[in-house]
Amino acid sequence: MNIKNQFKEGLITNNPVLVQQIGMCATMAITTTLFNGIGMGLSVLIILTCCNVVISALRKIIPNEIRLAIFVVVIAGFVTIVDLLLQAFIPALSKSLGVFIPLIVVNCIIIGRAEAFCQKNPVGASFFDGIFQGLGYTCVLIIMCVARELLGSGRFGGGLIDVANGFRFTLDGTGAGIQIFPSKYGAAILNLPFGGFITLGMLIAVMQYALKKSKKKKELAARLALEEAERKEAEA
């Protein structure tokens, strides 16, 4: 398992949301502004990486019978640390994500990676797995946020970008974002729960379409190569 492979797996071929189809709740709930999406994505990335490293380092000492209980305690510990730090240093983010920060504890991505990957792999590989799976998750959140925000209220980068007095990034979540078209022409329904379900559904459908297409292409290439070889053989 090399790094390049892991990168590809995390972002595309084994993306936690689009392919493994776990960690749905937060994906649909908080993706209303870019600020929320990036904040949530990075929080999960940090927690996932820390948990992966700790669990992988302890993998030989953890008794098999109570491994899940220990995973949960480690995860809950890191989640609480991130929760407290967010409350202290980025209160706006902590406020707008609300109960979904502590709920990272039961996000299947983290416990799923602990069970499926870190138990069997060394610390280094687990570290990169955490980073790449976290990045894959963050990318999905960002795509969802951008799509919902743009189509729903005609904005880009809500909470994160402010253009009122020149372009600047606002880390306190107060920026109004860039208004691309007036919000009254947006499909406000995408901001509602309905929009979360639909956008994620469409996204996964596109992903499945793309994966299927690339698989077909590969099969076609393989068949052509085979035919070529057969032809050559016949010629010989």
Binding site: V73, T80, L85, E149, R155, A176
Partner: protein
């Protein structure tokens, strides 16, 4: 039996270490979080009623279950009422300033979980949000939305949120009247 004891010991140790680390992090962040929360409340209060200090009154508000607390401005500019009312998606906490003549001096939304782009506009620092909140300045306890015959224009697509805020303002003024 020995095996179980060993498992319990391992689990206990992991829990203890985690709790210890959390204790340290909590110790570091505790004061900052408390300060941030206090500043947020003060900012919300001074946005609705200009004063240099606020004393929380020990008034009986059992007739107004949505009222959390009523504070008196130290300079006699009036009262600030903090209420929590149900909105479209969850609870909305609002601070309402009430002048001595029982009119609203302004409102400020302390926390909410309304839909982004619709109900959340009530709290937003945008043009839409500000003009929505400024409508309440000078209103009395009979404040109502235009569709109920009042003067407040509801936020588009967010009647429930607008109605919740309007009810909160009316309740706040009645509560201040009730305690005199």
């Amino acid at each position: 039996m020995n095996k179980i004891m060993k498992l319990a010991l391992v689990l206990f140790l992991v829990c203890a270490v985690t709790a210890g680390i959390l204790g340290v992090v909590n110790e570091i962040t505790k004061d900052r979080i408390a300060e941030i929360n206090r500043l947020a409340t003060v900012a919300a209060y001074s946005a609705v009623l200009g004063a240099d200090g606020y004393d929380t009154l020990d008034a009986d508000t059992s007739a107004f279950p949505t009222v959390d607390k009523i504070s008196l401005a130290t300079n006699g500019a009036g009262h600030v009422v903090e209420l929590t009312v149900p909105g479209a998606q969850g609870l909305i906490t609002v601070a309402v300033g009430v002048a001595p003549d029982y009119t609203c001096t302004g409102i400020s939304i302390i926390s909410h979980s309304e839909t982004s782009g619709l109900g959340a506009n009530a709290a937003a620092q945008s043009e839409v949000g500000r003009s929505f909140r400024e409508q309440f300045i000078g209103t009395d306890e009979n404040v109502a939305l235009t569709k109920s015959g009042g003067t407040i224009d509801a936020l588009s697509g967010a009647t429930i949120t607008s109605n919740a805020v309007t009810t909160a303002v009316a309740t706040a003024i009645r509560a201040v009247k009730a305690i005199g």
